[in-house]
Subunit: 246 residues, 2 copies
Amino acid sequence: MTYCVGLYLDQGLVMLADTRTNAGMDNISCFGKQYVFQRAGERAIVAMTAGNLAVSQAVMNLIQDGLKHPESGEQETIYSVPSMFAAASLVGEAVRRVYRTHGEAMQDQGVSFDVSVLLGGQLKDRTMRLFQVYSAGNFIAATRDTPFLQIGEHKYGKPILDRAVSPDTSLLDGVKLGLISMDSTLRSNLGVGLPLDLMVYPKDSLDLSRCWRIGENDEYFSQLRASWSDALRQAYRTLPNPPYPL
Amino acid sequence: MTYCVGLYLDQGLVMLADTRTNAGMDNISCFGKQYVFQRAGERAIVAMTAGNLAVSQAVMNLIQDGLKHPESGEQETIYSVPSMFAAASLVGEAVRRVYRTHGEAMQDQGVSFDVSVLLGGQLKDRTMRLFQVYSAGNFIAATRDTPFLQIGEHKYGKPILDRAVSPDTSLLDGVKLGLISMDSTLRSNLGVGLPLDLMVYPKDSLDLSRCWRIGENDEYFSQLRASWSDALRQAYRTLPNPPYPL
């Protein structure tokens, strides 16, 4: 299992991924699911993946090695595509390519072809975007109406995002909310685990240096988890009592 | 879809169910999923069901009409079983009976045989219990280690229960927490909907009169939903800021 969340805020992007993969409950590993593609001052792209690890790694390799554009026939890579939309199209094309190669054999073995990708970033003088690419290679973009996208085990961590994330949420608050959402997921699904990969991208910066790996001993995250539990317990105590005569 | 939650507290049981059923997104109805079986001063049993409505209604009918006990051969109903354990066994037996009757035909039509039941209550001079019965007719009991059980769309509403429910939670707080958990689910899954059926059973009372139907215009629930959203937003603002240099 996996949980990745991307926030699409006026100030920039917050991209957070766990690192746990499991092939059954008894085969748990740590694999990074956050990939960075950048050229200084020209492009800054972050991808996060969920689903079958062999599929998602193949997709990430293909977009770096390059694929022929289905119409122009030109070779394209994640470093050459002219826009974030073209980048999402390239990821989608790579997903379909992997499906053509491995899909049937996976199906024969009873393994579902399951992959999803969050792709956020910006090219010089272009708009910052955040996309979610599906197993069919099609994709959607985050908008101001729904300023976050999630892949993997998304349900436990959704209620707090539904209530608290809006486009004008600051990057600092976005980091807090992303970590709270992740904490709810970590508590409820053993298939999602530490360490976490956090990337913060300030809009128009073309700079992907604000990234941190958050492990078991991260003092801030430990403190946040404890404080959030306390705050939730306090919060429900402040609510009005039911009027029902018990 | 459905969401039902039962809290197994030292003071008693809190049983909460939504009433929405849907056969596809374009066929949504309201059906009660909370069933009450009582004999004054002798037994007080509440059942809540999730899954295929035809299956769960058939199960609820069978346990009232009666089934032969698989070993003794005697006819048993939910009104004659000698314990809550026997009541859960009867529900399980009814589930298997419905499967034998309809399972194969449902499978032929591509409909999954999917049902689960929360069964809580008490018989005179016996222990109060809360069980969850699965589609195979087997079942588990809530214990002090995990003092709540959920069926249906359980993920959105689980984080607050994980953090705040303990055996010594009062019935009043249990009602609050159940409603908060339901609120998170209502917001995130359109397949779960108002009105709600709430039953509070004080331990050793053998009294099932504390039940309320909570609809769109319920003043307390509206107020609770708004207050909880505010409280959550306040709560995350009080958390320490990330130490990351953004």
